[in-house]
């Protein structure tokens, strides 16, 4: 076993990014993500990197664009309000096919909202990170260890598919402390960044990074080609976890911190003789549609219950994934309120065997 450290989720992302070869970090402070920027500011200079507090979120994301265009492994992090400000830049990064990692440690919204944990940026992360036809790979860790592991994975996925990757965490995961080890994961084969603007000294044709295409047919082709890439991502990169789904009658679908609470509720339901199971999407895009649909085809599974810290966002993707073959319900708390295992159990009892 490698050496384990006791870390906050925010610190674990920062440390994992440095270990993954992230050399540049551009951010702007916001609770509940600030420890991440702080860790970068303290540690990047000691480890051949640079951490810079930009004058705004808009500046930070455009610095990310520039650094990525020059071939660097680069990251930015914020919370929901900051993502809203960054969305123009994110769309430009997608349109320029540039890799980078963007962290959202979610807090309650809309507006300034609050500083307690929430999952109400699900729709923003999976559907509305910027204008235009586009997706980002969205990874949803559920533990401090996974914050670290998925950060390394996020950098690799970004480079392989030349796309921004979002780590979608929340204030609870960012602030809570758990043991974490940074043992090297198996390396993925990474393509050469022969598209990067690194200076060529006249030895090759110059590279251009751009997201402006005046000719509609040319723009259409770049978008269609990008969607072929998304097809590959949807085929190859879906990640999820199943827990006690085999004989289950009701499936809780939950991601991130909520899946941890739901797991306790599933165990408590089993103690009461209710056959509950948990399905945890780890990639929110690509969403594990096929895997959920396969569960919906099983005769023993009658009901799905999406548990989220919002008013019902992922629940719509669950319905779409299973083409409404089975009943799908939602239970959520919002505004920074974390559901308790007991509340989830009450809803399992309410919906098992159909709504009463």
């Amino acid at each position: 076993m490698a050496q384990k450290y006791l870390m906050k989720g925010n610190e674990a992302i920062a440390e994992a990014a440095i270990r993954a070869g992230c050399k540049l970090f551009f951010g702007y402070p916001i609770t509940p993500q600030t420890e991440l920027s702080e860790y970068m500011a303290k540690n990047m200079p000691k480890r051949e990197g640079l951490s810079l507090q930009a004058e705004s979120e808009v500046a930070a994301i455009n610095m990310v664009l520039g650094a990525s265009a020059a071939g660097a492994r680069v990251m930015t992090s914020t919370s929901g309000p900051g993502i809203s400000l960054k969305s123009e830049g994110i769309s430009y990064i997608v349109g320029s096919d540039l890799p980078c990692v963007i962290v959202n440690v979610q807090r309650g919204g809309p507006g300034l909202g609050g500083i307690q944990p929430a999952q109400s940026d699900y729709n923003q992360a999976t559907k509305a990170l910027g204008h235009g036809d586009m997706h980002l790979i969205v990874l949803a860790p559920a533990s401090v260890q996974e914050m670290a592991t998925l950060t390394g994975e996020a950098f690799d996925l970004a480079d392989i598919y030349r796309t921004p990757v979002m780590l979608l965490a929340d204030g609870a995961l960012g602030q809570m402390m758990e043991p974490v080890d940074f043992e090297e994961k198996p390396h993925r084969a990474l393509p050469k960044k022969d598209w990067a603007c690194t200076g060529h000294g006249g030895s090759r044709k110059h590279n251009i990074v751009n997201s402006l295409y005046i000719e509609p047919e040319v723009l259409e082709k770049t978008v269609v080609d990008r969607f072929k890439k998304y097809e590959q991502i949807e085929q190859n990169e879906v990640k999820y976890e199943e827990y006690l789904t085999e004989d289950a009658e009701i499936i809780i679908v939950a991601y991130g911190i909520t899946s941890r609470i739901a797991k306790t509720a599933v165990r408590n339901a089993r103690e009461k003789g209710i056959k509950a199971g948990l399905f945890r999407p780890i990639t929110l895009y690509p969403f594990p549609e096929k895997q959920l649909d396969a569960l919906a085809d099983k005769e023993n599974i009658k009901t799905f219950l999406s548990v989220e810290m919002n008013m019902g966002q992922m629940v719509k993707d669950v319905k779409l994934a299973i083409s409404c073959k089975k009943d799908v319900y939602h239970f959520g708390r919002t505004g920074g309120v974390i559901p308790t295992p007991d509340e989830i159990l009450t809803n399992i009892e309410k919906y098992v065997g159909g709504a009463k």
């Binding site: 450290y5 006791l6 870390m7 500083i115 402390m177 758990e178």
Partner: protein, 217 residues
């Protein structure tokens, strides 16, 4: 028992972020009140609004411990202002435990009234956790210790070795931390007054504590 460490009416608990200051403070308060002392706890964390001694306010109040916390603690308002009641710690006869925020940032709050602490008499303990990456080496832990002293204008009296990785802490990990705490002691010239361990871990001479950190599930 942690309360054996108490040498003055005011005890200040300081150290690096996440070293376990709040857990030590709450355990100390519980030990003292159970041994018949009148105790006040000051939640003095002006830096980070999450995971603080005010999380334990119900249990502490039930046992008769007075908790002095920032007016907006646990209200979703990220504003750390202390009530005027804070100043009673310099005039009361109660034992007072001051749970400070992390690093020198947290110690800034102490510096405002350092002269009052000196006049009233105090003991300040440095909580050390070698499993936190920024204090993994005794040298790095010493730098933070010095910065806290410089910022607060107050001096530490000893080290509490609270090295742990949360629920997964083993006997082996606690034992392995002891030489590092002793190394820190050698560098800074302060004694290691105690090594702590959760009650579930079987180490004869460790000071037993409970996990009082807020649990979400």
């Amino acid at each position: 028992m942690l309360n054996k460490l108490v040498k003055s009416r005011i005890t200040i608990i300081a150290g690096h972020y996440g070293s376990g200051k709040t857990n030590i403070s709450v355990n100390l308060a519980l030990d003292m009140v159970r041994s018949g002392k009148k105790v006040s706890v000051v939640d003095f964390d002006i830096v980070n609004p999450y995971f603080r001694s005010a999380d334990n306010i119900t249990e502490l109040n039930a046992l008769g411990v007075r908790v002095i916390a920032p007016e907006f603690a646990n209200t979703n308002v990220d504003m750390n202002t202390l009530p005027k009641e804070y100043y009673t710690i310099f005039s009361t006869d109660d034992y007072c435990i001051v749970d400070v925020g992390g690093d020198a940032d947290g110690a800034t709050a102490l510096s405002i009234d350092y002269d009052k602490y000196i006049k009233s008499g105090y003991t300040m303990f440095y909580v050390f956790n070698c499993y936190r990456p920024m204090t993994a080496s005794p040298e790095d832990a010493y730098k933070i210790l010095l910065n806290i002293e410089k910022t607060s204008h107050l001096a530490f009296s000893g080290i509490i070795n609270n090295s742990n990785i949360g629920k997964e802490t083993t006997e082996k990990l606690v034992l392995e931390s002891i030489p590092l705490a002793e190394e820190l002691s050698k560098i800074c010239g302060l004694p290691v007054l105690a090594t702590t361990a959760l009650r579930t871990i079987d180490i004869g001479n460790a000071v037993k504590i409970e996990n009082k950190t807020k649990q979400l599930f």
